[in-house]
């Protein structure tokens, strides 16, 4: 078995928009193994204990190097944003259950992401781009600061639709204002979603209404990320499940979003 705990060198750490950062690190074994929807668990303060927990990040891209995409929201991501090229990071990964691939007869693949929930979608489009699907991204952000060019998606042939709460970029409103871009054909459409729980609940309701299947990538505060502490449990149709070990990818209709 490959070791899951390794030290990797930071190759780049750049701010892509007022809100979002992308970090690249040199992790060839990880890049070769990681699948869309899986994540890494990073120790942001190796010498101290502040913050205490590691921080989990979806893998944004895994080609030659591994990329994560993050938003500075607290002390862990703040420390991460201060890392420089050449710094070494203690990383656990790849972790968790990846997205399942779409059914063979699917035609339209719709990725619906809110804010930082965009993170697992690029690696997904990297995998799906050569498979003759019609790829659509519906992205919702609070305002202009939460939107970035998404050039990599466009290069992957993904049709990008954006909504912002204040209408500063794209349509005005929540992602649901863009649900008319989705072909409501259960036999041909497959959904992937990641974002705040109220958004994923809206996606779940829409999918249920039109009998469209899909997957949701969930997020929860984690301690171990190895399925040991059972701290990141969420409610599902089948009882409590850990996001780190049973997820983060779940069938869209399985999760009980609160």
């Amino acid at each position: 078995m490959e070791k899951i705990q390794n030290k990797y060198k930071v190759l780049g750490n750049e701010k892509l928009s007022p809100k979002y950062w992308r970090m690249t690190f040199d992790a060839p074994e990880l890049a070769a193994q990681v699948k869309p929807g899986q994540f890494v668990h990073i120790r942001t303060d190796e010498d101290g204990l502040q913050p205490f927990f590691r921080r989990p990040f979806s893998v944004y891209r895994a080609r030659k190097y591994v990329e994560i995409f993050y938003d500075v929201v607290g002390p862990g991501t703040k420390l991460l944003s201060l890392k420089k090229k050449g710094d070494m990071l203690d990383v656990l990964g790849p972790l968790g259950v990846p997205f399942v691939m779409p059914p063979a007869d699917a035609k339209q693949i719709v990725m619906i992401a809110g804010g930082i929930g965009i993170a697992p979608m690029l690696i997904l489009s990297d995998i799906l781009k050569n498979k003759k699907y019609n790829l659509v991204l519906i992205f919702g952000g609070r305002d202009r600061g939460h939107v970035y060019p998404m050039q990599e998606f466009k290069e992957n042939g993904v049709k990008v639709h954006i909504a912002t709460d204040d209408g500063s970029v794209g349509a005005k409103g929540r992602v649901s204002v863009l649900f008319d871009k989705i072909e409501k054909d259960p036999g041909k459409t497959f959904i992937y979603t990641c974002g705040p729980n109220p958004m994923m609940k809206a996606v779940q309701d829409f999918a249920a209404q039109h009998k469209i299947a899909g997957q949701a990538a969930c997020e929860e505060i984690m301690a171990c990320a190895l399925g040991a502490c059972l701290g990141c449990s969420i409610e599902t149709k089948h009882g409590f499940k850990t996001v780190c070990y049973d997820g983060p990818a779940f069938d869209l209709d399985e999760v009980k979003f609160h």
Partner: protein, 301 residues
């Protein structure tokens, strides 16, 4: 160099183990070659019946620590024996099985089921989980502690370790009560009952309302309690509470612990128990110490 230690009639090849509830049931991600090097492992506490655990939110990060209220989510003793124990035995490291009954009958039933198994080295009685809505923990009542330990000892040949709660006025009194009941060792500390509040919602951060605090934040109190208990009982003490590194573990050994357990540290650094073991060996080499017993209880006044 001797780093083996004795508890009851069992010799462990080294003094480093893990705290129950922090190592799962030795999940698929652990490097089992490294796990094998530990003195023992303690899987997550097993109850008589399966438990689904407490509703989320189950954990909260605090300064140098965490609050948890998992609620002993586990498959129950039958499920554990069927689905977990075989893989644990295969690792080839001594197993200390942590058990919890909600009453004496359940403890008795669990121990009878474990008696029928092979490959178990010792049993830890979890008398001190703070997250199960018990009004009083067994480990908060010296009479109940003595009675329960005595009952279990009468039913098994396996060495019995009593896991104690720090949520008491005098932990030494409870340790003595466990010793009086025939415990082969005591382990301490379990977590400190704690809470954190979301000031926006004015609600507890934890779904179970209260939880247990662990991690380096509690370490100095745990070191003190281990030191105090070691002064008051003759049986070995297994010390734990916020151990992240070998120097943390050495504090517990010097305070009088015969074994040390890495708990919450596993969540931050899965390699912590092995780092602790290697660090203790390095410390002994550097200080030309040939026997771990020269360290245990060597606190100077």
């Amino acid at each position: 160099m001797n780093i083996s230690v004795k508890i009851g009639n069992v010799t462990f090849k080294n003094p480093v183990t893990v705290a129950s509830g922090t190592f799962g049931h030795a999940e698929r991600f652990y490097d089992l070659e490294e796990v094998k090097r530990l003195g023992a492992i303690v899987p997550k506490t097993v109850t008589f019946l399966p438990q689904v655990g407490n509703p989320p939110v189950r954990i909260f990060e605090t300064p140098s620590g965490m609050i948890n209220a998992i609620g002993i989510e586990n498959p129950g003793i039958d499920g554990f024996i069927e689905s977990k124990l075989p893989a644990l035995k295969k690792i080839g490291v001594p197993l200390i099985i942590s058990i919890l009954g909600h009453n004496e009958e359940q403890f008795v039933s669990i121990i009878e089921k474990l008696n029928a198994q092979t490959g178990i080295t010792a049993v830890e009685l979890n008398l001190s989980c703070p997250n199960l809505k018990h009004k009083v923990l067994v480990a908060q009542d010296p009479v109940a502690t003595t009675q329960l330990v005595k009952k279990i000892k009468s039913l098994t040949k396996l060495p019995i370790i009593a896991k104690l709660s720090p949520n008491v006025t005098d932990i030494a009194e409870i340790a003595q009560a466990a010793e009086a009941g025939g415990a082969d060792a005591v382990s301490l500390v379990n977590t400190f009952t704690a809470m954190a509040i979301d000031i926006k919602t004015r609600k507890s951060r934890i779904g179970n309302f209260t939880g247990g605090l662990s991690g380096p934040a509690i370490r100095p109190i745990a070191v003190y309690m281990v030191q105090r208990v070691a002064q008051h009982v003759k049986v070995p003490v297994i010390g734990m509470g916020g151990i992240m590194t070998a120097s943390d573990a050495l504090e517990f050994l010097i305070a009088g612990a015969t074994m040390v357990a890495v708990g919450t540290g596993n969540f931050i650094n899965p390699r912590a128990p092995v780092d602790v073991l290697e660090g203790i060996e390095d410390f002994m080499k550097e200080n030309k110490i040939s026997d771990i017993n020269e360290i245990i209880g060597s606190l100077k006044k």
